[in-house]
Structures are given as C-alpha cells and as structure tokens.
Symmetry: D2
Amino acid sequence: MLVVMRADATAEQIAAVCRHIESLGLRAHAIPGAQRTAIGITGNKGALEPSDLEVLEGVAEAIRVSKPYKLVSLEVKPEPTVVRVGRAAIGGGELAFIAGPCAVENREQLFRIADQVAATGAQLLRGGAFKPRTSPYAFQGLGEKGLAILAEARERFGLGIVTEAIDTESLALVEQYADMIQIGARNMQNYSLLRRAGQSRKPVLLKRGMAATLDEWLMAAEYVLSEGNYQVVLCERGVRTFSDHSRNTLDLSVVPAVKAVSHLPVIVDPSHGTGRRDRVLPLARAALAVGADGLIVEVHDQPEHAASDGPQSIYPRQLEQLMEQARRLAPLLERSAPGAAAGAGAHPAYGAGEGR
Amino acid sequence: MLVVMRADATAEQIAAVCRHIESLGLRAHAIPGAQRTAIGITGNKGALEPSDLEVLEGVAEAIRVSKPYKLVSLEVKPEPTVVRVGRAAIGGGELAFIAGPCAVENREQLFRIADQVAATGAQLLRGGAFKPRTSPYAFQGLGEKGLAILAEARERFGLGIVTEAIDTESLALVEQYADMIQIGARNMQNYSLLRRAGQSRKPVLLKRGMAATLDEWLMAAEYVLSEGNYQVVLCERGVRTFSDHSRNTLDLSVVPAVKAVSHLPVIVDPSHGTGRRDRVLPLARAALAVGADGLIVEVHDQPEHAASDGPQSIYPRQLEQLMEQARRLAPLLERSAPGAAAGAGAHPAYGAGEGR
Amino acid sequence: MLVVMRADATAEQIAAVCRHIESLGLRAHAIPGAQRTAIGITGNKGALEPSDLEVLEGVAEAIRVSKPYKLVSLEVKPEPTVVRVGRAAIGGGELAFIAGPCAVENREQLFRIADQVAATGAQLLRGGAFKPRTSPYAFQGLGEKGLAILAEARERFGLGIVTEAIDTESLALVEQYADMIQIGARNMQNYSLLRRAGQSRKPVLLKRGMAATLDEWLMAAEYVLSEGNYQVVLCERGVRTFSDHSRNTLDLSVVPAVKAVSHLPVIVDPSHGTGRRDRVLPLARAALAVGADGLIVEVHDQPEHAASDGPQSIYPRQLEQLMEQARRLAPLLERSAPGAAAGAGAHPAYGAGEGR
Amino acid sequence: MLVVMRADATAEQIAAVCRHIESLGLRAHAIPGAQRTAIGITGNKGALEPSDLEVLEGVAEAIRVSKPYKLVSLEVKPEPTVVRVGRAAIGGGELAFIAGPCAVENREQLFRIADQVAATGAQLLRGGAFKPRTSPYAFQGLGEKGLAILAEARERFGLGIVTEAIDTESLALVEQYADMIQIGARNMQNYSLLRRAGQSRKPVLLKRGMAATLDEWLMAAEYVLSEGNYQVVLCERGVRTFSDHSRNTLDLSVVPAVKAVSHLPVIVDPSHGTGRRDRVLPLARAALAVGADGLIVEVHDQPEHAASDGPQSIYPRQLEQLMEQARRLAPLLERSAPGAAAGAGAHPAYGAGEGR
C-alpha cells in the first residue's frame, strides 16, 4: 500500500499517518517529494484497505500495490492448472470443446444433438436444466428431469456433462448428475453459491459477470478455491458496454490477461458473447487464436424451435466446421484439437442426416 | 413485435415469415415500403422473442414493441404504490430515510449509532448482518447475532429495521427479525432469492445491479411481485462505467425514468453510489431534487474503525445536516420530511456527544 | 511516481531501475517489503510516464502519484475562478442560466425564443450556428448568418451569446460575434481547436467528451489555459454507458469531483444529458442541488418543428418553472438566482403568448 | 420508421399522428394490436428522425427501421471495396500490414525501424508527425519535418506511408507527403476534418472513436464518402469500458459486424487496443482470425527510449514473429500474407542486428 499525502499536508499529519500505520503492526516508509510526501507500507498481509487510510487527515489517496487474491495467483502456483472433466483436460495441450443446446428440452432433442456433438470430436456436452431467465414467465428448465437426461446422454455418447447450478439446492443435484458445475455470469458474485461450489468435489466452470473486472472475477474464483476446490475453469462470455452491434462485448484480451496473473485455465463462450449465430465462428477462431484453452458453444439442430437462445445457437454442421478450423489452427498455437469421432454417425437412430 | 425484412428479401420469404407468425397463433401485418417490407405482429402475449423471428430467411431484424414486464407497470396499476415499513410510508408524501452503519459490528456500536440516527428523525435503521464481500477473507458479518442486535435496537429506538439477505437461508432469518428485506446489487439477478423474497410477507428493498438496464431491474422486481409480494421499493446505487472519479456512476436520471413506467417507489443510495464521504451530501440533495422517494445512507460515528465501508460513511452530525437540508428542500418537491426526534439525545448512555 | 517491482525481481533488477531513474535526473527511494520492493520517485516534473518504467526488467507496475494537470488545479490557484459573460458571473454567488434553441433557424424563431428567455431572467442565450451532426445529410446550421442573428438578439434582448465553434475557421467567426465560445463534446480532444480557443480573448465553455475521464477533461481545459486563456467553464452533458433509458448518463457526481480538484466553474446540460423533455426539469433541479454553478438548457416554443433536438427542448413556460424552482432552491445552496425580467413581455411583437 | 402508440392513446391521437405523417409526404400504416396500436411509415428518405414523432401526443416511442447510412452500405455496393495504398490492396486477398513507430523522432530512428519493417514483408510504414497528446506539455511531433523523413523512407525502403492528420492544416501537408491519411479516434467526429479528407484524393484510414457505436463510425465514413472520396479503410482500436486490465477493450466482434453491413475494408490496431506489448501478438492473431483485412502495429527497436507509446510498441523481432504467424494463419482464412522481403537486411547501414 502506498499513501499519497496532500500537497498541503503538515509535518504533523504525515507523522500521524505513520504512527497510525505502525499502530496496526505495519511499517511506514515516508518518501518526501518536491510537491508532496508519499508513505510506503510494508508488512501488510492483505487486511488493510486503501479506504482505511484515506480517512486520515492530510491523505490524498491510498493506492493498493499488492493484489487481493492469493490461491488463484501465479505467484502461489507458477505452473498452469489442468482441470480434468470426462475425456477433456482443460488447460492442457489439447483444446477443450463444450457444445450442446442452451436448454435440455426433452430426451429426443438432447440425444439428437448429443449424437452430432460427439461426432464432431467435442469432448463435453452442455445443456441447461436450471435456466436463469430474465422473465419469471419464461421457460425455467426441466430441473432434475433434465439432469437425468443429461446423465443418460453421457452413458450413451461418452460425453462429459457440463450444466449450470443456480442456487445451493440445484447445485446439490448438479453435482450428483454432472461432471462439471457451471456458475453463470449473473451468479458470479453469489458468494453463498461460490462457497457451496468450493465444497463440492466436482470441477467448476466460472463465468465472468457482465460488469466484472478481472480482479473481481479472480476473487470469485478465490472463493471457490478457499473452500478447498482447486478445479476451477474461468469462462469469458462478454461484458456489458455501450456497444450495441452485439449482445455483449466479447473481451478477448482478458484471456492473455488471465494467463499473466493466474494458473487457472480460461475458455471462451462466443455464443453468449455475440448473441448471433453468424458471429460465432469468427469469434470462436479468434478466441482460440488469442490463447483460450477451449470453447463453450451453443448448438441446436432446430434453433427456430429452441426453447431459448435459438438465434445464437449454431447448427451441428457449423460445429463440424468450427472443429475442423480448430484442428488447422491448433498447431500454430502449439496445441492439438480432438479428432472427429471414429464412430461418427454410429448412432443411426439419432439423425446423422438431420439438420446438417 | 415488428419484423423488418432485408431489402433483398423475396416475396416468398415475406410470405413465409407471415405464415410462420400465423402458425404461432398471431396475426401478421405486412407493410410494403420503398426500400423494404416490415411486418407488424399483433396478438403477442409476451412469449415471442425477437430472436425467434430473426432466424427466418430474409429477416433483417425483429424489434420488440411491448415491454416484457407487467405487474410492475403503470399500465397495470396507474396509482403509485406506498410501502409501509415501521414509521415510514415509502412512496407517500413524506420522504423516507434509512440510515445506519454498513455492518453491525457489536451491540455497543449499533446502539450508539442508532441513537443518533433516531435523533435526526430518520425513520429506519440499516445495518448488515450478512455481508457480501468481494474477498473470502474479509469480515462477513455477525449473522443471526447481528439480526438480534438490530431487533433489540428497533425496540429501544423505535426505528424499523432494513437489512440484507444474501441467500435463501439468510432470508428466512432476516424476515423473522427485520422489517424490510434488502436484496443487494450483486444478487439482483439471483432469481431463486427473488422468488423466495416474493413468498415473504415483509417488504423488499431491491437494489439495481451494477450493469442492469432499467428493464432488467424492473424484471427483477417482477419476479418478486409474480410470487405475490407487491411491497417492493427500488434502490438506485450507482452503475459501473468507465468513469473513475467515483466508485460507481450514480444514475439519477433513472429516478424519473422509473416513475414514467412503474408504480413502485424508488430511493437512492448516495453512499455506495459515490464511495466517498465528501460526495454523499451533495448527491443526497440531488437525489431528492430529482424526485426520489427517500434515501439510504451509511452512517458511522467512528468510520476510521468501521469493519467495512468506513470512507463512504458519513458522521452522525452530517446526517443531521442532510435531514435539515431535506426539510428545507421537501416543500419545493411537494413533499415533507420527518422532523428531528422530540426526544433527541434522550438516551444519554448512547453518546449524544460522541463523534458529533 | 511509484514503481512496484515483481515479487521475483532480483536485487540487480531493483538496482538497475534505481540507476535508470537517477540517470533521468530524478531520485529513487527503494522501499523493501515482505513480498516485493517498491521504488518511490521524487523530483519528477511531469515528463515521466508510467510506461517509461514499465518496460524495465523486473517491474510489475508504475503508478502515477501526481496529477498531470497544473494550471486548472486548486493547488495552483486555490480560490474559485469566476467567468464573466454578459450579465452572468459564472462561478460566483449568482447561478448562471444559458437557454435557447438547439439551432438558430431564422431571425423570427430566434427572436421569439430570446424574448421569452429574457423574460424568465436567464442571463445568456444559446443557439447553434455551426452544428456538428452525425449525418452529413442533416441540417448543418446557418453559419455566419446565424451568428449575425444572435448578435442582433443580444442588442435587442440584453442577453450574452453562447454558441459553438466546430473548427478554427468557425471559431474565428464565433469570437467576433459571440460572448462565449462553446467547444462541443465531440471536439473535447480536438487539440488544434483547443489551442486556438486558448488564444482567443473570449471565455470558453468546454463540454465533457462522451467517454472522457475527469482527468482527460481537465487536461483539455489545461490546453486552453496553457495558451493564456483562463476564462474556461466546464460543462457536464452526460457520458456514454450501457444504460439505455436516457440518451446519455448524466454524471452529476462529477460536479463535486471537479470542485475538489479545480478552481474552474462547472455547469450542467440536462437537455443533452437526458435527451427527453420530461426529464429536463428533474435533472436541472438535481444539477443545482449537487452544486453546479449554472445550467445550459435547450428551449423551443415549437419543438415539433425544430430543425434539431426538438424532443429534448423544453417549452418557454417550462423554463419559467425551472427558473422559479431555481430561485426557491438557491438559498439552500447559499446562492442566488436571477429574478424574472422586470420588462418581461416587453417586446409584444415577439409572442409573449405563443407556445406558453 | 415505426411509431408505437401508448396503450392509452385515443383514436383521435392515432388519427392525428397518421395525418401528421401524411402531411410530411409519407404514408402511414396503422396496425391495431391487442394492447396498443403501432403505425408503420413508408416513403421515408432518411430525413425523418424518431424524435420528430415522439413529441406528438399519445406516442410512446418511434423506432428507426432503416439505417441512416447509404454510401458505405452493402445495399448500395454489394461487392467489397479494395483500397490500394503503395504495394498493399487493403480488403483484397492479401492481408495488409502497417507497422512502424508511434512517432517519427528523427531520421536515424525512422530509417532503422523502416528497414526492419520492410524486411518482415509488411507493406506499409506508419509514424506520427502530428501527435494528438492528452497533455499540452507532451511531445507533439516533428510536423512537416517528420513528413519529409517519412517520404524519404518511402523512397529508400519501398514502403507506402500512413500518417495522421489532426486538423485541416496538417491534412493539407499529409496528403502531399503520405500515401494514406489517418484520422485518429479522437477526431472521428471532427466533421470539418472528415469533409476535408473527403475532398482529398488520398485514401483515408478512419479509426473508431473510443465511445462510437458501429452506426456512428459508419456515419463518420459516410462524411468522407459523401464528399467524393470512396477510398476509406476502417480501423478498430479498442473502445472505452469499465474493464481495467487493458488500456481499452478491443472489440473484435465489430469486424464481422462491419462486414455484415458495409463494403469498406476493416483493419485492427492491437497496439492501442491493448496498450501492452505482451498482449499485441495474441490480439493480432485474434484480429486476423476474426476476419480483419489487416493490422496496424506500433514497432520500435528501443521502446524504452521512444518519445511516446513505448510500452505498447513491439520489437522488430516480434513483428517478424507476427508476420510469420500471419503467413501460417492466412490459408485457413482463405487469404495470403506478404512474404518476408527478398532483400531483407539489404540495408546494412540500418541496424539489421540492433534490437533484434
């Protein structure tokens, strides 16, 4: 922490600030300058807030020098974390792909789409059973019934399951059925939910809040790690800005920013990030090119009938294209991408032809 | 809903869109234009999303014409709602003032401050027992013990109690002890919590999320009303923008914007809205001048020792000034403001002198 | 400037940074900490940029401690500046009111409105002769002919003239005809124009850019002052955010923030700040309540026929209300407001009745 | 344009709006709905503003259906524009690379860097002679002398020259010496400058303003085209948001958004977009992957001594890497990238070794 005194601060005010700092068990280092004095503080273990000092007389500003997070930091753990979910090792050499419909609508729909997702080589299946909706009158998901369908799809198609928990009750169910617990953007600062996720033994996918700074996002992850669950994957999904040509502004520069300070893997959601099907592939390519460890993408074979998010869901044939482009792009990034499934189209009952 | 066709849309595409709309049980009204055709839709009860139509061929854009909220709307209930909490009638002729420390720290601290709050004429006492903190390592509040202290303060000082619930567990406790349940900005889209608040019989103070549009905020209130609890007060507390001279950007123009579409009362929090003690009074005056139904303000007699938010807490003597200014301002706004307590300073044990 | 070294910086890197700082003629003060070392710099006259140091090895971050502006700062001139324009003394005890149409459309229109503006007691008349328009196809103003009409209105109605210059050519004309040169939000960082305004002997009204921080705005003013023109009034007119209920987000908290660091007067434009007539009066009251030195407001007697900005222009009768409210509010703010003109309605030819 | 009436609008108000529309020479199409009536307008040539109608009684909202731009639109010119500058054909099959120092500091510096830029295969050289600086006390560029050095570099190294004009005076010089006129972000709505650029016969590089929507950016380009200069290249360089981990938020999703509505080429500036050297390469790759027609990058061989923007300037060896990556990425994007210069290192006097 650095305390900047006002230009007109008196010697007595400066001395008083130093005494106050030392009364807290810390050391104060006064640095007299031409215009004003600054006071460096050492020995601070993180409990001190700039605002604790800004209330003192003669203080112009207190500036935090150290970061508030610890467990998520590269300084604590310099090697990258790899989070294993189903066949995927997120943060490792092979890029991870999570694909599937916005919501589980019924067994038929999910199986049809899961079959096609598996064929493309994507390792993980997404699908919401608990949906946080802006309107109380909109479809809220199938709940536990949806989770059971997802679990069945895992057995049939060999795909790990990623699905969202929206409160502690649904989290208890999600951790039973799924392979990875998603915490949505709206719940990024729902600390009770984060703590509960930290007590789970399943990996956590933590989306960035719509107005979250990098530090706040990492502090949300710190909540999960602080409860003992170190298997956290971050997910950028667009932030809210004045810009109105896309639903959100996908902040791809946060990917190298995360890598510069944290060991946690980070993936990107170009579906929510753009809100439009025709933008998903370009932004998916860009997300991989910038260094993301993987992607989460909404896929639907009949988006015009989807219960939610139809316009941003790509078709299965577009997911094939995306995976094919990822395979070509991966070597340039010193990564690999999963191959198309050997048994692609092996489940003839599930519409190898439909919607492609 | 209005569907705007692309300039190069074919007659067949236009006809297909019309057929699709009518297959949904709605009516389509094609409006051929010089450059392009638009199609108006009537009979829409709110289930249709612009994105449901934007996926059709030849469609450039679908524009929502009606608003998604209903129960919070002036169109459903043209007369203003008045929410009664303790001695206050928020949204009525008398302005409402909620004041107190950020967090309940101990019985002594709360009583000392409550005594001084009561003396100023403010009707309601705030104080957090469950604190949503950015860091898992920061003080998280006294929990139920804090609620018990608040309830005791109600009896002693005659102040209604407003305190935050951060999850369904804490809400069950808050509704037992307090007079009004606060839902914080970070939980504005925690829909499970909103539904649970909607099932309570205590009034709800709903803060605006840091990146929430007016419509999203009203939809969050709609969640509460849709469960049967019509006693909701909205609270503007600053939004997140690029602007860095204050902690948040207090959006005072949202106050008349709420009044233009909703019957719900709206108050302003200049403490979180600015993050600095020396900005609270000017912004408090401005909030009343713009038409707010009241204020919620953080007050502490020893802010340099406050467990949280010290730098934005005003001193009790500043609350007195604020109330005095409110009394002078109220007639201009065709309102009244509560008078200073007749028994001001009547509890000599609680530091009438201290910190003033 | 404070240089924060990385936790893993070597003693040699720290020494190298100190040597570099001293090679620039400055003094380095190393402050060893538990986790990392920080280096304070003194003797810096403002030429050093954080980025000059962030390129050195082992440096985590360089933090600016002093502010980049000088002449606009309270530290240089502690007493408030009062800018005299016509009958107004902006920044003095009497609040200043600038009112008039968005654009000068013709002599009849301007005179009709000026007559009514004068009757309300407002001291200054606004009206654009050079209009910066988003579309090249929109009405761009009457140019010098518009300025001549404004100058004529000054003589007839006793109102000082405030009008915008959009480039150095128009500025040369504006300074001939008008009493105050307005620099618009879009030109806040048009440094050639700012320098030229700094060479003028007429006062300058400098609007805040739509995405300008407080520091950038003050640095724009610094450009004007640095050329020798100290007569600058700042004007907040709304910033661009995600919020969509008003055209811009009026940032009223910037008013006390300006007052805390600068001696320059600051006024508010609730017309552009909201974009809607029905929001102008509430926000005008709030702007005065927060401490603004005055207002600039768009007024039109036939807004439905205005060449631009009709929907945000208030009617003359609303300006009367606004002035009346300002008179009631002023004493509470330890200010005064100008009285209605004794000779109100004295120019019967100019529609005392029309549009009221 | 679509006019949405209030739910409580009377039949007479609806009729009055229709009459008003027809009095303007347009056609009104009333669409009665269950809750409210909407009125479609056809025949509108772009002169009508939503606000012209929102002032009428009973109107809730007027929504623009057509876009305000014309000449920049794909509807007017469906085939992509290719802008030729020096050896580059921006918007064609070969990706375009503009590289060089932030500012021309002296002949030695520019020649040293230009030599290395040429060696990498980049087609165009950037370098500021007129610098828009936040502070009036900062280095403002060499002016015409800098332009002369740039022109000399063109002859010697075969690189087309791109440099910024900040006012009409500097534009007159820039068009004499350079091959492409850059309009900076701060001047994106300096309409006098845009008009003057439109009268030039040199191509224009138009940077997006820090708070500009896509429509506003395209309207700024429309200003240039409307004066007869169709050679415009758009450049995304980051927008201003709350996000604080990078200097600006690079909005890569705007690239496909531009392509969806305009025929103009669009390039990306990852240097200003991120403000940090270590972010430039990842974001440069992402910009190409998302579909940009090229890049503009700041390069300096001694960034620690650069007169400006040192920390975001990459080293010449990093530009080599960037170009190499672009060559590997291009085929995936159905593009090509220029090869390294055959004569790379052919100018031994200019530091083939230095800084690499």
